[in-house]
């Protein structure tokens, strides 16, 4: 990212600091592969950050390092002034797949987050789960089992589980990548609404440029292999705006800018094939 002189003098301004973090993996053949080149980022409390880049650029690796789920090979992460050495205390996470526990009802999938952290009594846990479910249009689904729900509904439950303990840091790894375009747009709007209400830091990994610019406060653009952050673009468009990409020329300009950085050769085919109507439009425009 760009050197930010202010960040050096006023470190406390940033709730999340990533300093020269890199990660090298050993393959089963004994080769050393750099999954993530030295990357730095400073994130303020309540900021929504999107990580965009081609496949295999290390976005997910950085996401896991930020959450303390994966140790970096070099560099350091601090969260709320503390160095991150294991899973962050108030962490929520959403994967591309819902990863719900099939043997638990929707509600107890969500309340497990609270039970494991010894938060609230059972009645309060249930109440909070119900309220969250209602906010994503799943009122009345509390006693269903995950496999009775559609993919989009499952991912909503997964989102509720990640938010039920009111985390300060929400990590999302291509959370809507496996959904159809209509469901995805609905979930993007739901996410923005929930984020505005709770204001955790969100680190959102995506292939979809349209999704990144319409959701995030800042889009961090990665280069190809070995991945590192090449640009930090602030999306200066008032909210709520998640559902307005098609009508908003400013968002489209940002999308064009991000696409130019990724370059036509760098855009993974998956992003094009699976892109929603929104990002298709962006491609036509650019």
């Amino acid at each position: 990212m760009r050197a930010d002189a202010a960040s050096i003098t006023r470190l406390s301004e940033f709730a999340l600091q990533v300093r020269d973090v890199s990660r090298v993996f050993s393959t089963h053949r004994g080769e050393q592969v750099t999954a993530l080149g030295a990357s730095s980022a400073n994130v303020k409390a309540g900021e929504f950050i999107a990580l965009v880049g081609p496949s295999g650029c290390g976005k997910t690796t950085l996401l896991k390092i930020i959450g303390g789920l994966l140790p970096p090979s070099a560099g350091s992460v601090t969260y709320k002034g503390e160095p991150v050495t294991g899973p962050v205390d108030d962490l929520g996470i959403v994967f591309q797949q819902p990863i719900l526990l099939d043997w638990r009802t929707v509600q107890s999938n969500i309340t497990l987050q609270l039970s494991l952290r010894h938060l609230l009594d059972p009645a309060e846990q249930a109440e909070r789960a119900r309220a969250l479910l209602a906010s994503v249009g799943l009122a009345g689904f509390e006693d269903r089992y995950p496999w009775e729900l559609s993919g989009g509904q499952q991912q909503r439950v997964s989102l509720c589980r990640a938010l039920v303990h009111r985390p300060g840091l929400l990590l999302m790894d291509e959370p809507f990548g496996a959904l159809d375009a209509m469901t995805r747009e609905q979930l993007q709007a739901d996410l923005e609404e929930l984020w505005i209400a709770a204001r955790p830091i969100v680190v959102f990994v995506t292939h979809d440029v349209g999704e990144a610019v319409s959701l995030a406060d800042r889009v961090l653009v990665f280069s190809g292999k070995p991945g590192r952050i090449v640009e930090d673009i602030r999306i200066d468009v008032p909210r709520p705006r998640a559902a307005s990409l098609l009508e908003n020329p400013k968002l489209q300009n940002y999308a064009k800018q991000v696409r130019a950085l990724l370059g036509p050769g760098n855009v993974p085919p998956k992003a094009v094939a699976s892109s929603s109507t929104t990002s298709n439009t962006v491609r036509v425009q650019s």
Binding site: K64, G67, L69, G86, P87, D89, L91, G92, I93, F95, Q97, I99, L101, D102, W103, L112, Q113, L116, R117, D143, R144, Y145, W147, E148, L149, S150, G151, G152, Q153, L171
Partner: protein
């Protein structure tokens, strides 16, 4: 309204349980009829191919003897299987917890598995005599491996995301095992248990062949020596029924413990959200 629908219609063929029982019952009656008819038509010697009615007579006259022997075999089978379940699952968990331990133990376990259990029977007989213990040990040894292997495989097959999710939720190793990994592995463990329960009966019978004072295997040998074929066939039928009942018990446990698994869901296999 539609809630729980899938549980109610669980694991049933089209038409439900009633029809399934009817179909199976009809097939059994047909087979028994063919048996009885074959004897009425060809009149084979009684010690070669007895009539259904002769065998039924054995159940009537020697019922208590048959049941006592069946109970001995069932007891050996169940204790052996139960021990294998406990040790196999615990072993799978331990092996999964340490890569080094797994590397150290696998060759020995594999060697033990590949050695025919029957080869140990004379030794066990020398150590423990003609009682139940050698049979229980053979039944245990023969059933232990599928359960160990399926537990180990089931635990290793847990999605990495599930493990990351658990860590993100601050679950410790024990909470991870109990809340995430073990339930995920249960379908694997049950398929191992299904294989094991059929093997357990074989193990007990084979051990009885080598030397026993009671049990259906012992009764089989004895009736063959005496050319008492009706008794032999009665013992075989009882053994078969016992095997089916034990297998059914495992299926019932599966139905009770993992109703959420896809193999247990009845009805049309579509997500309710898509209906």
């Amino acid at each position: 309204m539609k809630r729980r629908r899938i549980f109610q219609r669980q694991a049933t063929a089209p038409g439900g349980w009633g029809r399934a029982v009817l179909h199976a019952g009809a097939a059994i009656v047909a087979l028994l009829s063919i048996w009885e008819a074959s004897v009425r038509i060809w009149h084979p010697a009684r010690h070669v191919w007895p009539a259904l009615s002769d065998v039924a007579g054995v159940f009537a006259t020697k019922g208590p003897t048959l049941l006592a022997n069946a109970w001995a075999t069932a007891y050996e089978t169940l204790i052996g299987f139960g021990l294998a379940l406990i040790v196999g699952v615990a072993g799978g968990i331990v092996m999964n917890s340490s890569r080094r331990l797994a590397q150290a133990l696998w060759p020995s376990i594999l060697f033990a598995q590949m050695t025919p259990k029957i080869a140990l029977a004379p030794l066990l007989l020398a150590w423990f005599g003609f009682g139940l213990i050698p049979k229980i040990i053979i039944a245990f040894l023969i059933t232990f491996f599928p359960i160990l292997l399926s537990t180990y495989t089931g635990l290793r097959a847990v999605e990495p995301e599930k493990e990351e999710l658990a860590r993100s939720m601050r679950a410790g190793p024990v909470a991870y095992l109990l809340r995430f990994a073990f339930p995920s592995a249960l379908p694997f463990i049950f398929s191992g248990a299904r294989i094991s329960i059929t093997l357990a009966v074989i193990g007990a019978i084979v051990a009885e062949f080598v030397g026993a004072d009671k049990g259906l295997g012992q009764l089989l040998l004895q009736s063959a020596t005496n050319l008492d074929t009706p008794l032999l066939i009665a013992a075989v039928l009882l053994l078969g029924s016992m095997g089916v009942a034990l297998y059914g018990a495992v299926l019932l446990a599966e139905y009770l413990f993992i109703p959420w698994h896809i193999s247990q869901r009845g009805g049309d296999r579509v997500a309710a959200g898509e209906i």
